[in-house]
């Protein structure tokens, strides 16, 4: 493992250059004799350093098999297998035996045998008496700090300090606003030390958008914004009332449940599996439980306890069993037990305590006072936990009936058993603690240790997560690693105070959210200030609010919300949001396929469901823009929104007000004159010719109807079926349609209209020249009526096949035809004479029989998006939905 600070990297590069330069003029010196100290220094030691120190040296803090090889003494002393080196006796020395790979049980280094010449160096050195410098033993004072010393010195391992008194006498002159909360006191005091002050409060509209974003993830309506801005109450009173109102919104729980789903690496699937079902069919019930827990402000200690041990916790009921999804909904690693437990230990330790316990799976933690014994002590907890399946929640847990002993696995390898360890908590946090008593896995005891007020990590970690969500940045460098490599935050007093407040406030999350959101610090403007940026360019001290790009969930939810399309029902099963017909539910209910997460999620920086997720990046990449510009989902929303604006602008005198109205609906404010002028110009300069020409040529399938002449075998007046229901194309929402009757086409087939003028037709447009094979099968399953007739026409005229079916089926295969790009093939179905009982299925397949062998299948390629061109108003609506003002929260 390498530690890489930039300065170290520069140093290393310099060394590489120096080495390369030097190597050009190397003069080969005479080999030192094998019994010389020089031989050891030049040949043996570098070899050992490279091949063995990683696991057997003081420098690495590793003594695998209790053996060190960084001094002659250490090698002679040996490890668990006894002495490793007998001077003068290479064949009897274990170290040589290991490197020569002669014993299949003892092969070192484990990842590949050393080159023969290096083995020879070791052999000749041992044979010549294993000469080494006298003082080669590493200085014991260079040893790592003891775990106890680390535990006693690292900031995050000390109890949070109470600063509420310390700031009583803060320099009142240095601060520019009366402190409303202890948060304000602490932040202002810190800012004062570098000569800075808070920014002015943001305006009301900005604040309302910010509060809605943070507490519900949805934008306020234009009406809410207007009444908020004109509310006669004082700013502070109004804001407090608004925070309180939003905290009781059911959408608060949805927003904050999704945050927790990042922590708990939520997914609806297991990841890669062989043949078993990859679904977690009831995973959504864990999500529902989370939504409910946040909405009912379940105290955080109880929240944690239930997620670890709802099956045993006396305060839990059957309704709480889905909470166990926290542990059970991780990746399944092809059912490898060690990996499943490792994933659970990781989500518990990093997710709840900012502790990187998983680093101690193969060896003691390199930096933190966490031993391998600690890892396997907690491993034992999950080793003694089983998944019973079945009702009432299939992803639940129970304590195992038998008592399974946990052993340290040397180097993490299941075949390499070390000492047995009792189930217990991490020792540096509970030095005198007794093992978790059997019977039972110890999960409930583990939960108790995590949330006991003396635990210095749990409350700090959660307080930081809450702050991070509300303020846009984390106080500590790594929100899920509070270990020794995480320096104390610049605002440690703030973090400690919030942690204490969380505990003292009965672990109420809403209470802490409220404390933060009613503070002056939260309510600042997000504008840049050059003076402050000079002093604190990254805003680490919070002299302003942070402008934030909406996360994926809030962006999609807001798109649905401002277009009036949002289905705001709370709770429920997961829905595949990238599949048609596009669900209108909030993004928190999106189906998360852990294995093959759609690119859309990744493009928008969605939390990876592979493992616990500390924080998301916020990038701006073209894939995001492509989604907003070109996706059917956004086009559908823009179509709805733009159409109503166009209708409103039917009277030429109403164009300005229609633009105003559209703008207000999306962005919550009226446009400036200048902005309005741009938009009015845009909608009035439509290029009709361009609009109708291009899009059609890009389509592959069009679903329509036309007049079929059975004698001439021609199709005339082909028109699109106007209504797309998500499952079928037809005349209107319901069948029969007043104009188009029973005409309908779906993926598999459809129903012709009432006479020859309504012959339903799937039109395919050739993408390129080539030889085309058409095959298929027509099915009609009713005995009543006269059945259906299917005809295949090229460019509306040339018939290349005709079949009928009545309670029967017919193969619709054609001769190979030559086709040119852009030619149309019509698959026409008419009712013959009687439209009664004419539902049919027609499987259609087209295949180029040359180089590409590309296939087209009507069924598989259905439903196609309604490729209706966007008019100018709809384009305007889309531009507003794509705008920065929409995407960012000031």
């Amino acid at each position: 493992m390498t530690i890489c600070s930039p300065s170290l990297a520069v140093l290393q590069r310099t060394l590489v250059i120096a080495f390369v330069a030097g190597s050009c003029t190397v003069v080969r010196a005479a080999e030192p004799p094998a019994d010389s100290v020089e031989f050891y220094q030049q040949k043996v030691e570098p070899l050992l350093k490279k091949a063995c120190y990683e696991c057997h040296s003081h420098a690495a803090g590793e003594a695998s098999g209790k053996l060190m090889v960084d001094s002659l003494t250490a090698m002679t002393d040996g490890g668990t297998r006894g002495t490793a080196l007998l001077a003068g006796q290479p064949e009897a020395s274990l170290i040589l035996k290991a490197v020569s790979y002669s014993d299949p049980e003892l092969q070192m280094p484990p990842d590949g045998q050393l080159p023969a010449e290096q083995i020879e160096i070791l052999r000749s050195w041992i044979a010549a008496g294993a000469v080494a410098p006298k003082s080669d033993a590493p200085n014991p004072t260079e040893k790592k700090m003891s775990p106890e010393a680390i535990a006693a010195s690292h900031w995050a391992y000390q109890p949070p300090r109470d600063y509420s008194q310390a700031f009583q006498g803060a320099d009142a002159a240095a601060i520019n606003a009366p402190a409303r909360t202890i948060i304000d006191t602490i932040v202002q005091a810190k800012l004062a030390t570098v000569g800075l002050q808070l920014s002015a409060p943001a305006d009301r509209a900005t604040l309302l958008r910010r509060l809605h974003y943070d507490l519900t993830g949805l934008p306020p309506s234009p009406e809410e914004l207007e009444s908020f801005s004109s509310d006669p109450r004082g700013d502070h009173e109004l804001l407090e009332a608004t925070v309180d109102r939003l905290l009781t919104s059911p959408h608060f729980g949805e927003r904050w449940a999704r945050y927790w789903m990042d922590v708990s690496r939520y997914a609806d699937t297991k990841g890669y599996v062989f043949t078993e079902d990859r679904q977690y069919p009831e995973a959504y019930r864990y999500r529902d439980w989370l939504v409910d827990a946040f909405n009912s402000d379940m105290p955080y200690n109880e929240f944690v306890r239930k997620q670890l041990a709802a099956d045993i916790d006396p305060t839990a009921t059957e309704k709480d069993l889905p909470a166990l999804g926290f542990l059970t909904l991780g990746r399944r690693f092809l059912n490898n037990k060690q990996d499943i437990i490792d994933d659970r230990l990781d989500v518990v330790s990093r997710g709840l305590m900012g502790m990187t316990l998983a680093c101690a799976r193969c060896h003691d933690h390199k930096y933190d006072p966490v031993s391998q014994a600690d890892y396997y002590a907690l491993y034992g907890v999950f080793l003694n936990t089983d998944e019973p399946g079945g009702d009432p929640f299939p992803h639940r847990l129970v304590d195992s009936k038998e008592d399974r002993k946990s052993h340290i696995l040397l180097r993490g390898s299941p075949g390499n058993l070390g000492a047995e360890v009792p189930r217990r908590f991490v020792s540096f946090l509970a030095p005198q603690a007794t093992p978790f008593d059997a019977p039972g896995s110890g999960r409930i005891q583990l939960a108790a240790k995590i949330v006991e007020p003396q635990n210095p990590l749990t409350a700090r970690v959660m307080a930081n997560r809450i702050w991070m969500r509300l303020m846009g940045t984390s106080l500590v460098e790594s929100p899920s690693d509070f270990g020794t490599r995480c320096p104390a935050p610049a605002q440690q007093a703030l973090l400690d105070q919030m942690a204490l407040d969380l505990i003292r406030g009965g672990w109420s999350i809403k209470r802490l959210v409220r404390t933060i959101t009613v503070s002056q610090v939260y309510q600042q403007r997000s504008l840049h200030r050059e003076d402050a940026a000079q002093v604190d360019p990254t805003n680490a001290l919070y002299w302003r609010a942070n402008r934030r790009r909406r996360d994926f969930e809030s962006l999609r939810d807001s798109l649905l919300s401002v277009t009036g399309q949002l289905d705001s029902a709370v709770y429920g099963k997961s829905e595949k949001i990238t599949e048609r017909p596009f669900p209108r539910r909030r993004t928190v209910y999106a189906y998360i396929d852990r294995q093959n997460l759609p690119n859309l999620f990744r493009s928008f920086d969605f939390a990876s469901p592979d493992a616990h997720n500390p924080a998301r990046p916020y990038t701006s990449v073209p894939q995001q823009s492509l989604f907003l510009l070109n996706s059917d989902f956004v086009a559908e929303l823009a179509t709805e929104l733009g159409s109503s604006a166009r209708r409103a602008a039917a009277d030429p005198n109403a164009v300005n007000s229609a633009v105003n109205q559209l703008y207000r609906q999306v962005l919550g404010r009226l446009p400036s004159d200048d902005e309005r002028q741009l938009m009015v110009e845009f909608v009035s300069t439509s290029n009709a010719a361009e609009q109708t020409s291009a899009p059609e040529s890009l389509e592959r399938w069009i679903y329509g109807y036309g007049s079929f002449d059975a004698t001439a075998k021609t199709l005339a007046n082909f028109q699109r079926l106007p209504k797309f229901t998500g499952g079928a194309w037809q005349g209107g929402d319901a069948l029969p349609d007043p104009n188009l009757g029973w005409s309908t086409l779906n993926a598999a087939g459809g129903h012709p209209g009432n006479d020859a003028n309504f012959a339903v037709t799937k039109r395919w447009i050739a993408p390129r020249n080539g030889k085309l094979r058409i095959s298929g099968k027509l099915q009609h399953k009713q005995d009543a009526g006269d059945g259906v007739r299917a005809t295949i026409l090229v460019d509306g005229g040339n018939s290349i096949g005709q079949w009928t079916a009545r309670n029967s089926e017919a193969k619709t295969n054609c001769e190979l035809i030559l086709i040119m790009a852009g030619q149309k093939i019509d698959f026409v179905t008419d009712c013959i004479a009687d439209p009664n009982s004419d539902s049919f299925a027609w499987r259609i397949r087209l295949r180029y029989e040359d180089g590409g062998r590309e296939e087209f299948e009507a069924e598989r390629q259905f439903p196609q998006p309604p490729h209706v061109p966007l008019d100018r108003w709809q384009q305007l609506a889309q531009a507003l939905l794509a705008s920065n003002e929409f995407a960012f929260v000031d």
Binding site: T2, G112, R350, S526, H528, S620, N884
Partner: protein, 478 residues
């Protein structure tokens, strides 16, 4: 992007320090001028801007041709006359354990011939690739850890068999960014569907999601099927430009009221990138733009098309291209190996050879590291029939992780060179063995990275592609 490093997002400073690339690279980038470094003009917001590796290197891009399923080395690049000599007899000593039971030594049905000045021996299956013998660096002593597809695929792609780790393509796009912002930086092509282990083969793991490989099903030929949201079927390009002009005019007004915020500028630029991507991507994936002689050289079929696309992508600055043979595990010939291997090689041999020629003709081979191989090889012994497997046939080979062959070309590798050897029968790598981690370490070196210093901090550790393993095999480097 005014965020402290604490929020774990990607400021340039943080990317550099996390990747251990340090101030040297940073300073150089400043010397070159921010504007020259990419199109966003704002630092720290587009993590795909081009970046420098640890040291200057020949290879700048990678094409990994993945013969998924496990091609048989003793039938392709590792001739073993002793199998024929002792045909039908058991392997002397104990037969190493593989996935299934195997029996007697089973000679290759394919003829080997020497090629080039180097006299590289290659079987008739790859007679066209063999014409490039003097450019190939053949490693005959590869070995992996277990004889199963899933862990071996993950090991080959991500350097770890079970846990979720970033794939090599993700590591490299994280470390180097990409030269063309109008195309995805890392593309994985596989016709007809996913290989085994699916998109985990090109996963970003704990790296930010933007470094994940973009999967493309090359069964399709039209751009709208190849890249998501690349095509707009509702407005013409001209109208979309007008729409964007309006959008950007509104965005500029919004930005002016907010002074300097690189996030806003980055998003404005990302629309321009997206707009250009539409035409550029459509062009790059359209192989019909190639002259007929090039199309003829690659030959017919989907392998030819996707390998030609690979060259076009590389030519346009894409960093890492993976070309999979097909859905599932096509090279996994537990039975009928003669028929199946012949069929599979016929699908790709001509095109791989054409790719190498083509890269050379375009002056791209020097900078492009081409890698060919599977997740493991196959046994020299015949697989025994088993209920539910290979239908009672005794004419195939089992998986073999003990020894197999991979080859590289271009990108600064030593051409016309054979490295290492398997035992007399081709079962185990015995001479100059090269573990998959060693291959990774060597590939990273060819691309300018010290695999021990190319790290990303996650969950309290500095992770590497090679984890705690990997030795650079200098013999493979020219």
């Amino acid at each position: 992007m005014h965020r402290t490093p604490s929020s774990e997002n990607l400021s340039r400073r943080e990317l550099l320090s996390r990747s251990g690339m340090g101030f040297g690279a940073l300073a150089l980038q400043h010397l070159l001028g921010e504007s020259a470094r990419g199109e966003t003009g704002a630092s720290g917001v587009n993590p795909l801007l081009p970046k420098l590796p640890h040291f200057a290197a020949k290879a700048k891009r990678v094409i990994h041709i993945f013969a998924n399923g496990g091609p048989s080395h003793v039938d392709t690049f590792d001739p073993k006359p002793s199998i024929l000599k002792y045909a039908g007899q058991p392997l002397p000593g104990e037969t190493p354990r593989t996935e299934r039971k195997t029996g007697a030594l089973y000679p290759s049905p394919f003829k080997f011939k020497k090629y080039g000045e180097s006299g590289l021996e290659v079987s008739e299956l790859f007679e066209n690739v063999a014409k490039h013998a003097d450019d190939l660096c053949v490693v005959r002593s590869m070995y992996a850890d277990v004889p199963n597809h899933e862990p071996s695929l993950l090991l080959m792609n991500c350097g770890e068999a079970r846990q979720v780790r970033p794939s090599m393509g993700s590591w490299l796009t994280y470390g180097l960014g990409t030269d063309n912002q109008n195309l995805p930086a890392f593309i994985a092509m596989c016709p007809g569907g996913y290989p085994i282990q699916e998109s985990q083969n090109w996963q970003a793991g704990f790296l930010p999601g933007i470094f994940q490989g973009t999967y493309i099903d090359t069964k399709h030929e039209t751009i709208d099927k190849l890249i998501e949201y690349i095509e707009n079927t509702r407005v013409t390009r001209g109208e979309q430009r007008q729409q964007l002009d309006l959008l950007q005019a509104l965005n500029r007004r919004h930005q002016q009221a907010r002074d300097t915020d690189p996030q806003l500028e980055a998003r404005i630029q990302s629309y321009e990138l997206a707009y250009r991507m539409q035409s550029e991507a459509a062009e790059v994936f359209d192989v019909s733009r190639e002259p007929q002689y090039v199309l003829d050289a690659y030959g017919p079929g989907v392998q030819a098309r996707q390998l030609l696309i690979a060259r076009r992508l590389i030519e346009h600055g894409v960093r890492y291209v993976q070309v999979w043979h097909g859905e599932g595990q096509p090279w996994d010939n537990h039975d009928d190996i003669e028929v199946n291997h012949r069929r599979l090689a016929k699908q790709c041999d001509q095109a791989i050879a054409a790719l190498l020629t083509d890269l050379k003709d375009h002056g791209l081979l020097e900078e492009t590291l081409v890698v060919w191989g599977g997740e493991f090889g196959r046994t020299p012994t015949v697989e025994l029939p088993k209920e539910g497997a290979n239908a009672g046939k005794i004419n195939g080979r089992d998986h073999n992780h003990w020894g197999f062959t991979m080859w590289m070309a271009g990108g600064g590798v030593r051409g016309g060179y054979v490295h290492g050897a398997t035992d007399e029968f081709g079962f185990k790598a015995v001479e100059n063995r090269v573990h998959v981690h060693d291959l990774h370490a060597t590939m990273l070196k060819l691309l300018g990275f010290d695999h021990e210093k190319f790290t990303y901090r996650w969950a309290g550790r500095d992770f590497r592609l090679t984890d705690i393993h990997g030795r650079i095999i200098n013999d493979l480097i020219a």
